[in-house]
Symmetry: C2
């Protein structure tokens, strides 16, 4: 639940939604449902309670999977959210999802006066920056096999729930190459 996540980042116990600096609402997405579309201006950040979300980007004629989000993670089309310009990426529910949502306007209001809102926002964006920098480096320095092995290590419970062609698109390889990697790692 978002409240626990928020408390863990701030090292505080948040007993009631009233102790949060902004309203947080429950929201459900059906499998295959679009959460944020290409070209839309992102107006919310989400906390995922149940399910898997994929993030894609259009690349010439094809579409690339650039990220997966899992339970207890926050997600949004971050550049669009921060700049309030149209989104280059699209987010879709890969399974039925239960999430919590915080809206842009509510967050901006909290940012004017809440120490905790700013602290939480700062720490989250610091983490997003480090994750982005790490991904960039991994793409330049690691093989698809190493990246698959890392995904398998960090999120083993999800691998079976994501279609093989999606994982291949994420790794930037052909599904056949992924089959070979899987066989090798399983043997």
């Amino acid at each position: 639940m978002f409240r626990d996540f928020y408390g863990s980042i701030l090292n505080e116990i948040i007993n009631s939604p009233d102790n949060l600096p902004y309203p947080v609402r429950k929201i459900n997405f059906k499998k295959g449902e679009c959460i944020t579309k290409y070209g839309q201006i992102e107006d919310a950040v989400y906390f995922l309670n149940v399910g898997i979300v994929e993030m894609t980007i259009k690349s010439y004629v094809t579409e690339k999977v650039i990220d997966f989000f899992f339970e207890n993670e926050m997600f949004t089309s971050l550049t669009s959210f921060l700049t309030q310009q149209s989104s280059d990426v699209q987010m879709k529910a890969l399974t039925d999802c239960e999430a919590e949502v915080i809206f842009y306007q509510d967050l901006q209001i909290a940012y004017t006066s809440s120490l905790n809102a700013n602290k939480f926002g700062r720490i989250l964006i610091e983490q997003a920056y480090v994750k982005k920098a790490k991904r960039e480096k991994d793409f330049l320095s690691k093989t698809a096999e190493e990246r698959y092995a890392e995904m398998f290590r960090t999120h083993p419970q999800y691998i079976s729930q994501i279609p093989v062609n999606k994982i291949a698109k994420y790794l930037g390889i052909h599904p056949e190459s992924l089959s070979r990697i899987r066989k090798k790692l399983n043997s």
Copy 2:
């Protein structure tokens, strides 16, 4: 001066250094001096009053220029600063530089209780995230010529102060290709 920059981000007028949430000290670097070395743990963020700083990364046998910083910009080896792990990048003064410095420990202390320190930090890292995402996209979607034209547009006064081979390394092209681009843009 850092104090004015800090105030402009927060929309406040900061009359005295005492109104800053952390100590800020003057520091000078000679042309060619290393500010942060490869492998060092970054312990400071800088605000550049005078001069140009280059940021490089080792890439196999060669070295790539990944960024330049100019007057009135903040700079640090950000991933190293945030994670307190060793730096992949190196920063060097390209000209004699005058800067102001804030140390990691002082910043962490301010972050525990200062609304303004957290707000300023959050906004700065949001900007760094957007800049990083934009750069990534530009590298994928723009030609060296377009990127040079943009640099020329945003920082015309500096182009003449940066050696041609450094600009070529930044654009990821041969110095001869850059000469052709310059001739074309000047004609």
